[in-house]
Subunit: 150 residues, 2 copies
DNA sequence: ATACCTGCAAAGTCTTTGCAACATG
DNA sequence: CATGTTGCAAAGACTTTGCAGGTAT
């Protein structure tokens, strides 16, 4: 697996974070977290449920929802808001600020790292008097394949 | 109404767009569109349903959903994807490219106009080979009021 | 031993759909 | 008057919740 190198330290960090807050490391949680660390994709609840079921048969959907809530509360995952009407998730890697490009045709999701938003923060903070903590950008377009075939 | 000046030409443009595509101007549609043009907010389906019911009693929720689908297909409204799990809408004004700032505490939504994304488009297009057509940024923070009281 | 956690099924919420009556162009 | 549109209610999709039994620490 390409990203295996990131596996152990990240997994340990996540487990510690969970324990630190008084929650427990359980089979279903581990299976979900390991899947999230390994996958290159941006799974939704259904993807998680069906994929994790392979490692952990018998897991219930409710557990998947509850685990994702927990991970989000602990700031261990990001939630992607796309126009699909459901959420997709990705594990947060340290030092990996990126955004997403979505193909309007085939729905493929690609990450991109260039982000110059930080240059704007001061401007926006002074014009709106908000204190900004985070941001998320989604760009829409056509992927190479779909743009060739249209 | 502060934005009355924008009302007539925009309304005409929208009506024409609807007719041009073979759809009809009906009472419920007009009531929804007029509300969207007048409001300063970012209503969700429920807001629309209850507000528009005042002008047009008896309207059904299904009609609100269907009208918003139509307006989105014709590119007359923007959909805001926020972590609330439901969509919010805004009418598209010509020459008004902006993004949104959301207060994490009180959920207030504020628009900001600074956007330097266009400088990145070429970079992203060449590194990903996508053709980009639009983008949307949401920043999260604390509004002046909430940041004072915390 | 004591929280916490799980799967299940039921309940809840939000959105879509089928349909007969109606309205627009 | 042909075609699109509407409100309603039912169906569908997705998410949350209550609970009794199970499990991590």
């Amino acid at each position: 697996m390409a990203n295996n190198f990131r596996f152990k330290p990240l997994l340990e960090k996540i487990k510690n974070e969970i324990k630190k807050h008084g929650y427990k490391i359980t089979g279903p949680r581990l299976a979900i977290i390991e899947f999230l660390i390994h996958t290159e994709g941006h799974p939704d609840i259904d993807d998680l449920y069906s994929e994790v079921s392979k490692d952990y048969p018998g897991i219930g959907v409710a557990t998947v929802y509850r685990t994702m809530d927990l991970l989000r509360q602990l700031n261990l995952i990001n939630t992607l808001e796309l126009p699909e009407g459901r959420q997709r998730y990705e594990i947060i890697l340290p030092e990996d600020h990126h955004h997403h490009l979505v193909c309007m045709e085939c729905k493929r999701i690609v990450e991109f790292g260039n982000c110059n938003f930080k240059h704007l923060v001061e401007d926006i903070e002074s014009s709106t008097r908000f204190k900004i903590y985070s941001h998320s950008t989604v760009a829409y377009g056509l992927c190479p394949h779909c743009s060739a075939s249209s």
